[in-house]
């Protein structure tokens, strides 16, 4: 077990505490984010959103807006030269709506003007006549045959199932059956940087887009098809990204299409920067789930059967709902051996804000349900939660719910043992059940665990590329088709290259992704960056090294196999040359100093009919422990201590890895206690960070991180994934700790003061601003 600093490190840079390659630009304020890019002569774009969540557009009149001085373009759906909509799975998301609007973030018209103020003014002058339709706001009702339709072909967005064994037999074999419903709320990514983009008409009749984009290639596809341009005329460059967490994909496609349309129409650069309010209104969220679990267990605490039905709210458009819910269905039983499983998950279209990828990608919801449930079962059986889990966890060679046999080392029990022993779980858990009744402050402790499929799995094509270009002075430029969205991918990839080529990492400049430079590497999602790009970087480095090593051998008059690449030198015995010398010599000899590494993930299989197959090529395991203090008079929950243990395969960069865990815990804590994107009949009830509350520095507990290094043979140096696992099980650990403290189970997130105390949550404010007064009269 490697705690804090992995021991026995045989690497030069891998596994060490390396500063981020981009940190210096970021701490000095030099880094340029989307909104920091400007061009002379740029125009400002603005969007007219629909005031209705569901309505027919009867007419649009832009005349008054056009008549305004300083307005360079007012565009509607009729002005789109190519496809009117886009979407990776279902291409139905409207760039500008024609017949119908489906949520309040839908756009009806766009404007480009000389100043932002003029653009806003023009927006107000656009007249749209709507005929409101009945609003579909409940996903369960959306699926009933009598529901109004959001999309013509029905409100069912996705249905996945998993069948294993025979569920009836499973319940027959059970001594206890419990059935509960768990709900999770809709949450916002809340990257601190709102979406921003600059679109410029290109010299070749195309368009160049610089902005806060997460998935360059899907955005390029969308823009090209909407503008009717070949892919090579659309260049997408990633600006330094101020956080994404899965959120700057379809939301950015929409903005990029609009900005590009305005730029090509006006022939001038167009800048579009979202306010926080626009970002909240338009951008997709994490799916809220309603999860019904019926579980059978025998007297000895062994799980016999799980019947699961989940309804997810997809909102107005599909985005990645099919994939998100697929991950949920694969992992819905939690990291446990269950002989008989019947799982169904449905995603329904509604007129709410659409939902898509967000850190966890369908797992935080089900982790909350399963991990709460395991504690509830333990209570029924008189077992402690740790023991209950140990009796059922996946072990080496176990078969998962989808019938996949685990052939790698399964470190789940080890993770659970680590957090429980580091946290003194059992003694505290027992003691907390008999606390002094005089004090309103009750202590609680809780655990949770999970398994998680690495990368995309059977979701889709899974490959990535990394480009390495060694310079004649021994420095290098590295770039990747997967982006650094703040998670440290640039650093990780640079470290791998540094390790392989014996470069010191400060000799590497990492270029932000650019579609004209790198091939399509698929989306930066599913915590796949370390794994996929790390492997691609290794492949690329090896290609390059194989090419230059013979030259070095020649210069040093030795065999290539005797060379050691380290600290910017290549040595053989006591003689050595610098990497710069080698690079310069290669250049002289006409040997290419650039290489592309391409990595394709191992095979996965899936049968959609019964939900069986080897869904992911490998899994990671983790366990969390939370300690809380609950004020039972006010409902206030304070998380006092957190322990997070994850099997990451191999820690590539200890700073980056710990950062992912701390950040994941913070986001999980917001999910557990604070955050909820409230809507009522399709209308958002909040719009900014004064009402959507994120954890502040004062809310964070002391967090201990424990890494397990399972050395998976598939990962680069054994590395797997961390970004999402770190996030998915924080909330259930906290919820379990609260139940331990209060003796009462809350099956709905978030655990606000009101909910903990009264069992009910805030009613989204009808009288908004009544507490903080609006517009003081003078």
């Amino acid at each position: 077990m490697a705690k804090e600093n992995p021991q026995g490190n045989k690497f030069n840079v891998i596994g060490k505490a390396s500063p981020r390659v981009d940190a210096i630009d970021k701490v000095t304020g030099r880094a340029r984010y989307g909104a920091d890019h400007s061009r002379t002569g740029q125009l400002y774009g603005a969007v007219l959103n629909s005031p209705y969540p569901h309505a027919i557009i009867k007419s649009i009149n832009t005349e008054r807006a056009r008549a305004l001085d300083g307005i360079r373009a007012v565009l509607t759906h009729a002005d789109i030269p190519g496809a009117k909509s886009f979407g990776g799975i279902v291409p139905h998301q409207m760039v500008l709506c024609s017949g119908k609007v489906r949520y309040v973030g839908d756009a009806v018209a766009i404007v480009a003007a000389e100043t932002p103020e003029l653009a806003d003014k023009a927006i107000e002058l656009i007249e749209v006549e709507y005929s409101p339709c009945p609003v579909v706001s409940d996903p369960e009702q959306a699926l009933s045959p009598s529901s109004p339709l959001v999309h013509e072909d029905g409100n069912l967005c996705a249905h996945h199932k998993v069948r294993k064994g025979d569920i009836e037999t499973g319940f027959k074999n059970s001594d206890f059956v419990i059935e509960h419903e768990y709900t999770t709320q809709k949450v916002e990514h809340a990257y601190i940087e709102p979406e921003a983009v600059l679109a410029e008409p290109g010299e070749n009749g195309g368009v160049t887009i610089t902005g806060s984009v997460q998935n360059l290639y899907s955005i390029r596809r969308a823009v090209a098809s909407v503008l009717n341009l070949p892919l090579n005329r659309v260049r997408v460059i990633q600006a330094t990204l101020g956080g994404s967490f899965g959120g700057k994909d379809e939301a950015m496609s929409a903005i990029c299409c609009r900005a590009a349309l305005l730029a090509l129409t006006t022939g001038r650069p167009v800048k579009m920067v979202n306010t926080r309010e626009q970002s909240m209104r338009e951008s997709y969220k994490r799916h809220p789930y309603k999860m019904r679990y019926k579980v059978g267990v025998s007297n000895d605490g062994i799980l016999q059967a799980m019947e699961i039905k989940i309804i997810a709210d997809a909102g107005a458009y599909a985005a990645t709902s099919q994939f998100v819910t697929w991950r949920s269905v694969v992992q819905a039983t939690g990291p446990y051996v269950v002989p008989h499983v019947k799982t169904d998950i449905y995603a329904a279209y509604t007129n709410n804000c659409y939902t898509g990828a967000m850190r966890g990608f369908g797992s935080p919801q089900i982790c909350f349900a399963v991990e709460s449930l395991m504690d509830e079962l333990a209570a029924q059986l008189g077992l402690d939660p740790f023991e209950m889990r140990l009796r059922n966890t996946l072990k080496d060679g176990s078969i998962t719910a989808t019938g996949q046999k685990l052939t790698h080392r399964v470190t789940l029990d080890e993770a659970l043992r680590n957090v429980t022993s580091a946290g003194g779980f059992k003694a505290k858990w027992l003691a907390n059940r008999e606390q002094d009744s005089a004090s309103p402050i009750k202590k609680g402790i809780g655990i949770s665990c999970s398994y998680r499929g690495v990368s995309l799995g059977a979701e889709g094509a899974d490959a990535a590329g990394v480009g390495i270009s060694l310079q004649t002075d021994g420095s290098a430029v590295v770039t990747c088709g997967l982006v650094d969205m703040g998670q440290g991918a640039a650093t990780t990839i640079s470290l791998v290259v540094a390790e392989e080529l014996g470069l010191s990492s400060d000799k590497i400049v990492f270029l932000n992704a650019d579609t004209t430079v790198m091939p399509d590497s698929g989306p930066t999602v599913a915590s796949r960056t370390s794994f996929m790009a790390g492997n691609a970087a290794r492949v690329g480095s090896t290609i390059l090294k194989d090419r230059i090593a013979p030259v070095a051998a020649d210069m040093l008059k030795c065999k290539a196999s005797a060379l050691v690449f380290c600290h910017d030198f290549i040595s053989a015995g006591s003689s050595r040359i610098t990497l710069a010398q080698l690079a310069a010599e290669c250049f002289r000899r006409g040997i290419s100093l650039s290489a592309h590494g391409w990595y394709k993930s191992p095979k996965t299989t899936w049968r959609e009919e019964d939900g069986t197959g080897d869904a992911y090529f490998t899994f990671v395991y983790g366990a969390n422990l939370a300690e809380v203090e609950v004020d039972i008079h006010t409902g206030r929950v304070i998380v006092t201590k957190f322990i997070s243990c994850h099997d990451v395969g191999k820690v590539l960069n200890i700073n980056g890895a710990k950062g992912q865990v701390y950040g994941g815990v913070a986001m999980g804590m917001g999910y557990a206690l604070l955050e909820a994107y409230a809507e009522e009949d399709g209308q958002p009830k909040l719009g900014n960070f004064d009402e959507y509350l994120l954890p502040t520095i004062c809310d964070m507990p002391q967090t201990e991180v424990i890494f397990l290094e399972g050395d998976d043979p598939l990962g680069p140096y054994g590395a797997k994934a961390l970004g999402e696992p770190a996030n998915e099980i924080a909330a259930p650990a906290i919820a379990n700790a609260v139940a331990n403290a209060t003796g009462r189970r809350v099956r709905e997130l978030p655990l606000t003061l009101e909910r903990v105390l009264l069992g009910k949550n805030l009613i989204p404010g009808r009288e908004r601003g009544s507490a903080m007064a609006k517009g003081a009269e003078s």
Partner: protein, 157 residues
Amino acid sequence: MKVRFKLNGKFVMLDLPGVERLIDLLRERLDLVGTKEGCGKGECGACTVLLDGKPVCSCLMLASQIAGHEIVTIEGVAADNRYAHILNAFEETGAVQCGYCSPGMIVSAAALLARNRHPSDNEIKRALAGNLCRCTGYSKIIEAVSRAAERVAQERK
């Protein structure tokens, strides 16, 4: 109206077009884009600058309110050797992920360390409570500020 103020150590005289927020003056007209906007409502602290040495939200100030005062932005902090320890500590500890909150965090930290050389963890938390970060979970940020304080203390010895 004309205003005169000190910006990152230099006196500046400017004609204000009317009602303009300080953040817009800095970003749009003076190209000091290190100062970020995350909410425009005083909630995130990404826009934090120093007003006479005190951290304030530049999204909640009118440009005309800085007449006769001194403003220091992240660019000014970064150029000032007295704050080098803070920048280094943020870089080394991993207190920066996406970095969008970093300029504001560092400006707040600079103000804290200028008046309190040995801040406790709780004092650090109180000083940075107005700066939201979605990426780091704040642990490394607290570590960075403590480390910077230690370095400053060592140097003074």
